[in-house]
Symmetry: D2
Subunit: 174 residues, 4 copies
């Protein structure tokens, strides 16, 4: 799931919070994107994943690194509604953009979660400046390692990224 030659699947979001306009990985090309996939009633997300995403937001400049929350509800759908999420984001003072992963007609797993083959929450994804998925962490990842991984993606020269725009429709890059 972290094939560095392929463009990461686009976010499929039914509703956005904390942003005046919908976001997309395509529009964020040029920046590193940190995606924190969570459920508001997942204890590991509340105690570890989301606080870590907030720290990432504070440490890195927004012109280099964008942090996005993705509410990937795959259980307790009646409890974790958009109305409940909105209250949650307010109470936990989460200020970065959060998208609700679009429900699927095929089952309980929402669409972006399925496209990335996520195993559960919290999951943290790193997308490079060229839009390619470079890290896929399920569970906890320690701050030192995450800081290093984000910084290395942010430090990649733009020339390498420019060639990323030449990736074929098959996802392979020249």
């Amino acid at each position: 799931m972290t094939d560095p030659t392929r463009i990461a699947p686009e976010l499929l979001v039914s509703r956005w919070f904390n942003t005046p306009v919908p976001l997309s990985l395509a529009a964020l090309r040029g920046r590193v994107v940190v995606i924190e996939a969570f459920q508001m009633l997942c204890p590991g997300c509340v105690s570890h994943g989301l606080p870590q995403a907030q720290r990432v937001r504070q440490v890195f400049a927004r012109e280099d690194v964008e942090v996005i929350g993705l509410h990937t509800v795959f259980e307790h759908h009646a409890a974790m509604t958009p109305v409940a999420l909105e209250a949650f984001l307010h109470e936990y003072r989460i200020g970065f953009p959060v998208g609700v992963d679009a429900p699927s007609e095929a089952g309980p797993i929402p669409r972006t979660m399925a496209a990335y083959g996520m195993r559960g929450t919290p999951t943290l994804l790193l997308v490079d400046r060229a839009g390619r998925l470079r890290q896929h962490h399920f569970g906890q990842v320690e701050d030192l390692l995450l800081g290093a991984q984000i910084a290395m993606l942010a430090a990649e020269p733009m020339t390498a990224i420019a060639s990323g725009a030449a990736c074929g429709v098959d996802g392979n890059c020249a």
Copy 2:
């Protein structure tokens, strides 16, 4: 609000979880009752109050000390529904009885919360074996102090409790 000569207001609960029968302070007379008033989307309740209540449940014998959660929703009512609470209790593995504080027609403050004059969540109440409110903590209380307070209530001789209904308005009990 902690007048030791008065019987604590009865719990007004619209729905119970984790108990086959409704609970009441009257029926729990003879035991110390620890009431953890919380909201499922209150960060201080999730990180401090509820884990502390779980530790109280583990340290003290149930024949001496009963632990009860009280979901005192006074904001974000559409988010913190009984359905959402049920999922929350499951995910956070909260096994002690939890009652939903009965909504009030007069405003957003539920009825038990109003009767006790609670200022917010988390609030921890200690009711002695005779049914009198003895401690009312708003916010955080440290484990050492709480352990001491519960133990002292549990250690009070039954004779004092029996005569408790006869305590004078000066707070002295015969």
Copy 3:
């Protein structure tokens, strides 16, 4: 080692810090005594035992509960000298009385540590108002339980304690 009918062995201390006069369990009769046995280079003592003893000092009134540190050095004797201990107590802002457990001629285990049969550090001992050893914790003990145990000893009526003074030389109390 926690026979409630026997008077706890007296402290054998070669040097005291943080007290103008030497302390003894005999002189502290009437108060609960919390003894935190530690080594200044024992990680569990530094991260858990000593901070807990400091919390005990803050929560309980000194007229009811005395907190004493006991430096029971049984390894690295050349490193954990009284001079080093004095610097340690200063840097860690430990303000309660601390005694250096008297070295033994028989081996590396100091004398009080041997008299109590301690297995290592940290060890926390609770001595009741009558001078009897009532709890002997090796390793970590949680705050809720410790707070309860101290409070229960502090709540024991003086009459029971008075009879403690009539314990025979065989350690048995009438």
Copy 4:
């Protein structure tokens, strides 16, 4: 003190632990060097600085990043002797090389500490592959930021490093 055009002052060490041979920044040229300056009786070093250095050791490969402890004793000299340090390193299971900062005849501040103008402990220094001091943190630095800083130094191309000795006084390198 973090002039990127200057080679960092060499370590002045009177005794090494955890290494069969003395270390020097000169000999480590080509690797990023993380220097954790600490005192064994400094609470912030024990609770924050040294555990963080241990995490750095685990996250980064030794061929890229070397972690060195530097015992910069500037107070309580009689307490923090090499003998005491040896016991400390053993008890806290610190496995990376640790040097004792060489005492100065001029006063209590040891020689390397003085050469770097350190304000106290803990202090964390980052030296790049070319031997230049690039970061000087006094007090706490969070893991995310530190991980990013180390990774960026480790990612710097060797060509830039080779020419590093020729950086101009304006900070620009040829």
